[in-house]
């Protein structure tokens, strides 16, 4: 299941990244030749926040998010797993709170337009609750994986246990 979600994340992220690059490339080229395209950059900007959250979810699945772990590194695995489990509960509550607030905010601001393009700003704000839900799902996935591995590989929720290792699951693109 996490592998399947990771594949979707990769495909969606790659398409977004390619489209954003293309939009800005075209806009810059057209502007250079005297035909500016305003909507092109606006659309790229709108898609950007979605790319950020999809990328953040993917980085979460790969346990890639930066942390300062030199104080907790010496502790035995059991304690670290317990600590990261507590973190997971805290982070998911935080993300859910943001998601609810974000959803309400989006519903309030549905009318607001985005630049001169006629796109609704709601497409930007709704990315926050959507991103929070995606991040929560990947934290849950990591949590299950970590607890299942507690007797064997000893994985954690947020931190890579082996510093040299790259992505821990099939993510569509890697290798």
């Amino acid at each position: 299941m996490p592998g399947f979600l990771a594949k979707i994340e990769f495909v969606a992220g790659a398409i977004l990244l390619a489209v954003i690059t293309f939009l800005v490339f075209i806009a810059a080229t057209m502007r250079f030749f005297g035909h500016p395209l305003i909507w092109s950059v606006d659309l790229a900007q709108l898609l950007f926040i979605w790319l950020c959250f999809i990328g953040a979810t993917r980085a979460m699945r790969e346990r890639g998010h930066l942390g300062v772990d030199f104080l907790v590194r010496p502790f035995p695995y059991r304690y670290r797993l317990a600590l990261e489990t507590a973190f997971s509960a805290l982070f998911i509550s935080f993300l859910m709170l943001l998601a609810v607030e974000g959803y309400d905010l989006t519903m309030l601001n549905k009318e607001r337009q985005f630049g001169d393009s006629g796109l609704s700003y709601a497409w930007v704000t709704i990315a926050v609750p959507a991103g929070c839900v995606m991040l929560s799902i990947s934290i849950l996935g990591n949590l299950v994986q970590a607890w299942r591995s507690a007797k064997g590989d000893r994985m954690l929720v947020f931190t890579r246990t082996d510093p040299g290792e790259e992505a821990v699951i099939e993510t569509g693109a890697a290798e």
């Binding site: 990244l17 800005v24 950020c52 959250f53 300062v68 600590l83 947020f158």
Partner: protein, 427 residues
Amino acid sequence: MALIGIVFFALMLLGAPIAFAIGISGFTFFLTSDIMPVSIGVQKIATVSQSFPLLAVPFFVLAGHLMNESGITDRLFTFSKVAVGWMAGGLAQVSIILSTLMGGVSGSAVADAAMEARVLGPQMISNGYSKGYSSAVIAISSLITSTIPPSIGLILYGYVGQVSIGRLFMAGIIPGVLMMTFLMVAAWLVARRRNYVMKEMRKPTARELGAAAWGAKWALLFPVLLIGSIRGGLFTPSEVGAFAVVYAILIGVFAHKVMTFDAIKRAFGHAISDIGLIMLIILMSGMVGFAIIFLQVPQSVAGFMLESLANPVLIVAVILIGLFIAGLFFESTILVLLLTPILVPVVVKAGVDPVHFGILMMTIVTFGSMTPPVGVAMFTVCSLLDTKVEDYVKESLPFIAAVFALICLLLFVPGIVLFLPNLMYGG
């Protein structure tokens, strides 16, 4: 503010991912504030993403990963080896030159150090270089990438501190080249004494050098095109980032004919994760950034520093020493994102050009990743080459001295940093 600080440090020291430590501490401001509704916090997260200069981050991250797959690295390596391999400490000189050239196509110090440890490290050791010396040269020379454009760190600094990214790019060139020169001298002095030379190498003729440069022409041309296209604001750095992506694919597929569809997929995969982890920190810092401004933290810090220290050079020196100490413990990205909004108003009040300060700050916070106790570049290189950290530290002293000498020079002679940006954009 005290509560925000306590929550942040508690989460961070317990090892929570920084994005969440920043997000949750910023969120406590909105939860505890009587006047600020929580929904404003969500809005701040969304607003952060709506900045055009910030689009330079995904483009240059992607371009960097694509360049690595495009065969540019091998060609730059061949060129560097012909150009400086014959000198005393030839392979060390190659490592330093290669870092400078790689700095011009991608912007990550750790990635550069890891690549060189794999490519150059074993060769250096088999040529009789000590492990400590090899690791020190490889890790510390990757510091050059932090100021040579396109540097992701400088994009973040420019975005958070509201400083022109184009000017910062221009300002980083001369310090980067000087850093290369200083490190080459340090490497040469040590190598000459120990007689580290490659027997089979000799000084290249102009013809051989030309042939090697021609082989690497697309890689060498890229920084020239980059600087040419942002000069005087012809294109914005974000637009140039989009060009760089297209350029890397064209070179890899058509000129070098090494880039397959799988390689492009791999580059996209790495890029999406990197963008996600950098951008989640930036998005989450939208809330705490707002709180810092709302609570007038920069003004208080500036007031305090200006009261207690009158001399601007002294203020900057104190800040830089603080940054150096912070850099020993924290990742450079984190320091740039958290401290830039507080420090830039302070240095501006003290009469220091924020472009000048940015180059110094970037060099110093990145330097932390080459030193104990938590240097990522250091650990990467030492573990790849199986070097003891003590040996690394002992052998890195001449290079550390060279870096400090350069930082002092840049601090006291701002003209070195500001000459190019003022020339290109007007003072």
